[in-house]
Every structure is written in C-alpha cells, then in structure tokens.
C-alpha cells in the first residue's frame, strides 16, 4: 500500500500542476497569437500591393468613395489592435514582433492611401496642385535643381 501523501505534498503538487496549466495556456495563446499575426501581416502586404496606383487611377468617384470607406474600417480596426498589442505580453516573442512591424507598416500604407483618395477629391488640394504645376512649368519662374 503506497504511503499516504501529506496535505502539504498535495498542495505543492496542486501548485505545480496549476503552474503547468498556466504555462501550457500561455504557450497556446503565444502560438495562436504568433500564427494569427503572421497570417494578418501576409494578408495585409498582399492587399496593399494590390492597391497600385494604376488601379486607383482607374476608379470612378463612387468606387473611390466605397474603397475609402472600406479602408477606413480596416485602418481603424488595425490601429486599435496595434494599441492593444503594445501592452500585450504575447508581443514579446520574436515571431509576433516581426509580424507586428509588418502590420504597422501596412497600416501606415493604408492610411496614406486613404489620405490620397481624400485629397484627389479635395478642391483646395487640387487648386494648390494646379498652381504648383503652373509655377514649376513656367521656365521664367524658377531656376534650380541640386
């Protein structure tokens, strides 16, 4: 008959088991997070690459407005996720960190595209651009280049 364990031994064993449970749960979350962020990073990179200037140039006014709305939704969700990740312990592993850097860059790219779509319909920006093109195209107006 095996010797009965004492309460202290049982308590220590329970603590060790709980530690193992937490460690396994942390590992599962870290792995899930790293995989999720890597997939998101790759999806975003492909998406941003697909939004080339040729495609954006060909959009109608309605299509540009629809795209801008979708991009704004994507951007605000990404920005909120990035803010959460800044305080999340899961970001400590190198796979997640690398994926997060890529996601940050893609978020900035999407922000730039949103801004460009807004400016392309903005009468003040268009007027400023027109004036600048005229000022630069007039050979008597400037001498320069370094």
């Amino acid at each position: 008959m095996p010797a009965a364990i004492t309460f202290d031994q049982m308590e220590r064993s329970a603590d060790r088991t709980l530690a193992a449970v937490y460690w396994a749960k942390h590992l599962e979350n870290v792995v899930a997070c790293a995989v999720g962020l890597t997939v998101l990073n790759r999806t975003l990179r492909r998406f941003v690459r697909s939004l080339d200037s040729g495609l954006l140039e060909s959009l109608t006014t309605e299509q540009a407005a629809d795209l801008k709305t979708k991009l704004q939704t994507i951007h605000s969700n990404l920005a909120s996720r990035l803010r959460e990740c800044q305080t999340c312990a899961h970001s400590c592993n190198w796979i997640s960190r690398a994926a997060l850097k890529g996601i940050e860059a893609s978020t900035e790219d999407i922000g730039d595209i949103i801004e460009n779509l807004s400016f392309s319909r903005d009468p003040q920006f268009r007027s400023l651009l027109r004036d600048s093109v005229q000022a630069i195209a007039d050979p008597a107006a400037h001498v320069g280049g370094v």
Binding site: L56, F125, L128, V133, H142, G145
Partner: protein, 113 residues
C-alpha cells in the same frame, strides 16, 4: 536605384509651408527635410515612396509622389511623422517638393495659402 535632383525652391507654397511649421511647433523641420532629401536624392523610391493617383488632368507630364519622414522632435518614426508631396519630372529627373505636412492636421493647410 534611381537617383534624382531636388529643387526645393521652385514651389512658393513649399517655402511658405516650411516657415509656417517652423513657427508653429516644429523648429526641427529643416533637419528632417535635409535627411529626407539626402535619402531621396540617392533613390527616388526611398522614404516609403508612393505614386499618388487621381490627378492626371492636372499633372500633365509630371508625376506626384508622396513620402514619409521621421519627425525627430517628436521621437516618432515615419509612422505619425511627416508626409512630403512632390512633383517629379522624368525628362529632367528633378523632384519638386510641394507640401510638407505632419501626419494628422490636414485642415491646417487651409490657413497657409
């Protein structure tokens, strides 16, 4: 890597904008610009360059580029830093900066003209 020339004095608006930001909370603007131009002179695709679509009716033979640059004063990276809009003339490989704005306050632009 495609090098280019940069003419920062051709656009009167750019010069006004530089002075505006210097006097409105961004005294480090010249150093930030110098760094951006040094990179872009070596490679026109530097500083997260992106061609801006949608202005074909205005640009004629020029192309419009948008760049990102760190705002050293705010210790921000290119994310949240400056945005530079510039016209590029392929015939002379010359870039003409037009606008230099912090990432957020687009509305401020209307007070500079």
């Amino acid at each position: 890597m495609a090098a280019c020339k940069i003419d920062a004095d051709a656009s009167p608006h750019f010069s006004k904008m530089r002075e505006y930001w210097k006097n409105h909370g961004y005294p480090n603007i010249d150093a930030d610009l110098a760094e951006a131009f040094a990179n872009i002179r070596k490679d026109i695709q530097a500083n997260h360059a992106r061609r801006v679509p949608g202005f074909g009716d205005i640009l004629k033979e020029y192309e419009l580029y948008k760049y990102r640059q760190k705002n050293r004063l705010a210790r921000e990276g290119a994310s949240g830093g400056w945005r530079i809009y510039a016209l590029f003339d392929r015939r002379t490989t010359t870039l003409y900066p037009l606008l230099y704005i912090p990432r957020r306050p687009w509305r401020t632009l209307t007070t500079i003209r």
